[in-house]
Amino acid sequence: MISMNKVSKHYGAFQVLTDCTTQVHKGEVIVVCGPSGSGKSTLIKCVNGLEPFQSGEIIVNGVSVGDPKTNLSKLRSTVGMVFQNFELFPHMRIIDNLTIAQVKVLGRNPEQAREKGFKLLDRVGLRVQAEKYPGQLSGGQQQRVAIARALSMDPICMLFDEPTSALDPEMINEVLDVMTELAQEGMTMMCVTHEMGFARRVASRVIFMDQGRIVEDDSKEAFFGNPRSERAQQFLAKILHH
């Protein structure tokens, strides 16, 4: 579904990604982890073309992201994305956050879009909040809405960019539960996250990045059981012991 081949990116002289190669198959859940500044977020943003890259190739569902002829908007409308800071549209009611792209991008009729929006809000347990504004919801609720908003476009895969990093500890689980459910339904997912519990439970594979390189790309059993690189061992030792 997603295939990356030797993707490299630099800002001026600063190399952010170096020769990143990996595949994500349909139904797989890939967890991307690594120290901050290792290029995880950049890598995931390259997948839907939010970050341009200078060399290599990314193919999403048969479409080359880096090709200047590609209609990026169209591609992005098929790839759901959830951000660290939710990024709901603050001036719209929750339900409108869920319908606007359906109507303006996919051309669905507003009634149909609302119906779908309510259904998705039901699914993340927030139907009663439909008429509120994002600023009136807690962080965890906003992130669940953000997931519902991405799902409203019927994406073929979902990208998560540290979806729980900006949340209070109490709210992390409500978001992870939604993600876990989604994974169990067979959604193809690529998640940048530090939630190793989530990775252990649902990941098919774990990618570990350091200094812009993919250092490990392994099954979760192999990664947690016996990480090959020293850097990954150090990383795991640090984040699993607190």
Partner: protein
Amino acid sequence: MAYNWNWGVFLQPTATGDDSTYLDWMLHGLQMTVGLSLSAWLIALLLGAVVGVLRTVPNRWLSGLATAYVEVFRNIPLLVQLFLWYFVMPELLPEKLGNAFKQTNPIMQQFLSSMICLALFTSARVAEQVRSGINSLPPGQKNAGLALGFTLPQTYRHVMLPMAVRLIVPPLTSEFLNIFKNSAVCSTIGLLELAAQGRQLVDYTAQPYESFIAVTVAYLLLNVVVMSGMRWVETHVRVPGYIGGK
């Protein structure tokens, strides 16, 4: 101080012989000031919004052009710009158009030059407010719009501008107030707006205190109206749960 106060002066018929009073003169001036300022403001808002948006787009040519526009109209004194529009511009126009302009009613000539001048001067300042509004949004908002499949123009239209405009209502209020005050500069090319009528009243009646107090009060009242209008706008566009909201 031996000054003969005479507030009744406004009700006296003017010395020009027609049956208008000096109060009528003031009201005409007020009308001119309001008409000029409002029409210039509308143009300034539209142009300023476009230029402000262009300053933030990723295309270097477009943003460079917009930057040049802002710098030109913001950095030349308003008075000089007015003289350029009124005295120089008609000569630079293609001959037919220039002549057509010069043959219109002189008041229309003054009004048009003043309106264009105030509109463009203010649009440069509005553009800066719009740009700062857009730039003060969290960068993730643009990404969120794009990630949903919006094109860049759609992202501006549905995601960035609605919030940016809300953020800049307070600074826009002061630009709106400024345009009324700046319109007084247009009296220098002979446009009989409020300030000019005040001066004319002094010439005709030798009652400077009454004239200028009346002018001052009229400007203050105008500003009160504008301010309450903008305050109404501000409360109505407030986003619940967001800055300034409930």
